[in-house]
Amino acid sequence: MTPAASQFKKNAIALTADLRHRALIRTALKKYEVVRDDKVSRFQNWQSARQSAAEIKWDAVNHLDAHLIEFARNLEARGTQVHWASNAAQAREIIIGIIQERKAHSIIKSKVMTGEEIHLNEALEKAGFDVVESDLGEYIVQLRHEPPYHFVFPAMHLTRGEISDLFSKELGTASTDSPEELTMIARRVLRDKYIAADIGISGANFGIAETGMISITENEGNARLTCALPKVHIALMGIEKVLPKLEDLALFLPMLATAGAGQVMTGYNTLYGGPRQPGEADGPEAFHVVLLDNNRTQLLADPEQRDALHCIRCGACLNVCPIYKNIGGHAYGATYQGPIGAVITPHLRGLQQWKHLSFASSLCGACTQTCPVKINLHHHLLQSRRNAIAQKPVWWEKPLFQGLAFLFNHAGLFSLGMKLGRIGQVFYPLVKGTRLDPASAWTKSRELPKIAPQTFREWWQTRK
């Protein structure tokens, strides 16, 4: 087992045994489902909206080369500097390079999942810069020195009490049970940081090829401050985030809000089209867009799973996933949790190292059913399983399935097996629960079914 796989198993054992944690996540996500259903019902036809979104994304991804060039050209036309990063190291180098060139020191960040993907904060801190997260959830997990628990709701695993305790400990504030007060505490601390920051780093929810703009969706206004107050704005964006036309946002903005958080529209949706233009009173002096590949083009090269690049990171698949609901976001050990993470992480970080995530699914398909851009998520998990096994079969599984195939193809032998099994199950209690129990993975928590006194085929024989 790879280190990532054994860590995942360990985490899953600990977290499924934590009933408080399970109840917390389940309750939170039940509330999400109620508000989401309400907002979905406000669409004239949610299913046809999904279809349109999938088609727009299909075009965007299948003509990514052309859209990206158009996007970059239009950005550059208004003075934005566009950088192309093949991998995480290059992206970090580009960003650190920009900061060093400005002789800057303090950095404010709004939510950047690509930043998590390339471990940007660690790199920035190592290079000697001050980095502060401005999204409330991100700020909270930063204070706790832990990664986001959910790529949309980074601190959803924490209660008000825990957040209050954290603020008391880290910021010296009085404890409170009021979410508004907690927000105000963070806001007071962060306002000074915006003003002091030399550099603002953001992500991008969408990149509009037609107009050369990035679109950022947020609820707190922190991204607007991050992108507008510092002298330099750097946006780190995955190359798959490009949409062909501005009008596509008319569908994608409400869809992201609905699927992501059960909102009609997210609080703030802003388009950023360049640095301060001549004659303009505000905005950053320089605007850099760093386009990140980091193995996305490898996923693009896989026609079977390419549609995973349709993802708009709404997190809906996490919210309905029974695995996620029982183990939570930290168990995965990956930047992108839940079903979409299980699909893309093996492509981004290596199939053999991350294949366990595709096996850690009951294939219930709730993710595929909910995905607003119709990614065939649970089928992709099956395909990844096939690809992983084709590359490297498990030494004992291969002969087992070969043997089973032989058994299944010889009904007489299958019948004999059932007869022997019936005898075997008489003696099974002798080993049940011991180290010799061949079914221990099952019987640790469940009773085994019994082979019936008369199987169906035996019954069929008797009635003739």
Binding site: N326, G365, A366, L382, F401, A411, I451
Partner: protein
């Protein structure tokens, strides 16, 4: 109509009553049953585990034996989905692709067959109990079966159906998943059993014995009085 009945391996071995009930119901409706006893398994365990080659070894036999049939009925949403939806994917690009597509078109899950193909909803059954219905994920999401079993249950005399909370949540079985990640599988099953117990039902009914096997295994371990029963058995209860 000559109906070919595919009996999945675990129903054959552990839950034969579901198969027997299906035979008796369909025969009472005046149909002839063909049971291909040389078939045992659809190949799903290997398929779901990534061993598609080994899965094809089993599935080719199914394709060949079911070639000359009129209609195929499967008493399981999961194995039904395997043959109907996943065979075409399993055999894509092989010489059997066409055969897989042809078979796919004539495969029905049992409750879907009764309601959609035969147009039957009242089987004259009687089952004076309070029950809750569990939707197997493959039946629900791969085959789109939601109303069919409920329509059938609504005509069972004496039966009271109480829907459980989070009714479309997976029971956590997932085939080999239940052995590879038993802790997650069990946690999911505990949630499912909890939702079912909250309804105060005496039985959990489903059109999928594999889910019921998992749920019953958990209930037995916990010593809970709630019982599981296949839809076909309820519909055959008079």
């Amino acid at each position: 109509m000559k109906i070919t009945l595919f009996i999945p391996c675990f129903i054959d071995a552990c839950f034969p009553k579901a198969g027997v009930s299906a035979v008796e119901i369909l025969e009472r409706l005046g149909h002839t049953i063909d049971y291909p006893k040389e078939l045992t398994c659809c190949g799903q365990p290997a398929f779901n585990s990534g061993y598609w080659e080994e899965s094809r070894t089993t599935a080719i036999k199914v394709l060949e034996r079911l070639k000359a049939t009129e209609v195929v009925v499967i008493v399981s949403g999961s194995c039904g989905a395997m043959i109907k939806n996943f065979y075409p994917e399993l055999f894509a690009g092989t010489e059997h692709e066409e055969a897989a597509r042809t078979l796919s078109a004539k495969v029905y899950e049992f409750s879907d067959f009764l309601v959609t193909k035969l147009g039957v909803t009242d089987l004259g059954a009687q089952f004076p109990h309070k029950v809750t219905f569990h939707d197997g994920c493959h039946g629900l999401r791969e085959l789109g079966i939601k109303q069919q079993p409920r329509k059938l249950l609504s005509h069972v005399r004496g039966l009271e159906l109480v829907e459980m909370g989070e009714v479309e949540s997976c029971c956590g079985f997932g085939g080999t998943f239940s052995a590879k990640f038993p802790m997650i599988s069990t946690a999911m099953g505990e949630n499912k059993c909890g939702s079912a117990l909250e309804t105060g039902a005496e039985y959990i009914v489903s059109n999928d014995s594999s889910c019921l096997m998992h749920i019953q295994g958990l209930l037995d371990r916990e010593g809970k009085p709630l019982r599981t029963i296949h839809l076909a058995e309820v519909l055959n209860h008079r």
